[in-house]
Symmetry: C2
Subunit: 243 residues, 2 copies
């Protein structure tokens, strides 16, 4: 068994209103069984999920947090706007529960690779819907993963994870399956979509020039219907021992 | 840019005392610049990091926990033996800080793919040392990652991560680097070794038959010296907001 991940070259800078599917289709060929991994940044930009900090009026809580943590109060206001809950604020790091239910730094709000100097890029409003729309519009109808780099509890560094998915089984459920000796496996559910996002990230550089990666060899996880998406990877709060 | 991950077929069942490097070398060819990812299970078995539950006498704490959580008291005793601290015990799940400093369920102690019905496999005593020894003994001297499947806070499912590494930069440090517009990147450090472990896991099945995967295309992360290993991926407790 083997897989490959290849960066898609030649994509232009993506702007609000751009037809991302058309830009991707002009740069690569896709087939059913392929998995296309796209950095959320270009999806968000095409969808206009960008805010100009010059237009943001920070409220009192944002100003307080910004003062405590040495941050731009307008940026903090945008982070709070995108958050359902601020889980931790420590040493300048704001760990948020986003309105979608993701736990990540700054609710995914990011200044790098933004279209203007005072602009910040948000996560897509509904990344699974973004993935589904991209899949439906792409010739060859590959599975689509929308990825972002998230930090982790307990471990240093970030890894790319799936924040949106369509046509890919997000989890490979081994519960109840057996090892080669017939013993039940303790590995339970493998977060396939997250592993795919991480693999794709290894095939590109992070300067914004290669936001899309084509992964082949995962036909066994590609589904005809769009499936549950990356929503299935968000751990429900009541089943999470660490928040 | 592209990478490939290919499972190594034909490895026999690994037993205590086996020369794992020789078994791997008989099944695949390696070159400098390659990354070999090995499931810890076979490393642990070769190293004799296996316990027979029939020989374990559970203490009082193990018996109490086992009673509360419906678990085998002898297994719980082994988990406690491998743990520096029990972080959470909830609904039958024991989340442990291992003696190495990893946070994972059951301190990595696992019954599946064990050599005997009453046996459990432990993590290697020093997985970075295991990776270094394997690298030194392999023709072609590929980088080596020793992987295990860990659950995560906030997200459903497990992903493979690096618990040992030699000859691979565990982190790709982008701090201070710039995006294509010259703006500082907010992505800080990419956990390369964890992403490689996850990618490799996508190229194999979990029934124990393909514990080794060869990853190519990551020459830029492969180092001449063995480097800091996966120890660099363990977040120091004082920098961890979630334990």
């Amino acid at each position: 068994m083997s897989l490959s991940a290849t960066a898609i070259d030649g994509l232009p800078e993506v702007r609000e209103g751009d037809d991302l599917a058309a830009l991707l289709a002009a740069s690569a060929e896709f087939a059913a069984g392929d998995v296309l991994v796209v950095a959320h940044k270009v999806v968000s930009k095409a969808e206009g999920r960008v805010r100009d900090l010059a237009t943001v009026e920070p409220g009192e809580r944002a100003r307080d947090l910004a003062g405590e943590h040495g941050k731009d109060a307008r940026l903090v206001q945008v982070v709070l706007d995108e958050s359902a809950e601020l889980l931790r604020a420590h040493h300048g790091v704001l760990i948020c529960l986003t309105r979608h239910g993701f736990v990540c730094a700054n609710a995914g709000v990011d200044r790098s690779n933004a279209p203007g100097d005072d602009h910040v890029v948000l996560l897509p409003a509904d990344p699974d819907a973004s993935a589904r729309a991209l899949r439906a519009a792409l010739p060859g109808r590959p599975a689509v993963v929308v990825a972002d780099s998230f930090g982790r509890a307990w471990r240093v560094g970030q890894t790319d994870v799936a924040i949106g998915a369509a046509g890919l089984a997000p989890l490979d459920d081994w519960r109840g399956k057996r090892d080669s000796r017939g013993r039940e496996l303790e590995a339970t559910e493998i977060a396939v979509a997250d592993a795919v996002a991480g693999a794709a990230d290894l095939a590109r550089v992070k300067d914004g020039g290669t936001p899309a990666v084509l992964v082949r060899g995962l036909e066994r996880f590609v589904t005809e219907d769009d499936g549950p998406g990356a929503a299935a990877l968000r751990r429900p709060p009541e089943l999470d021992l660490f928040r």
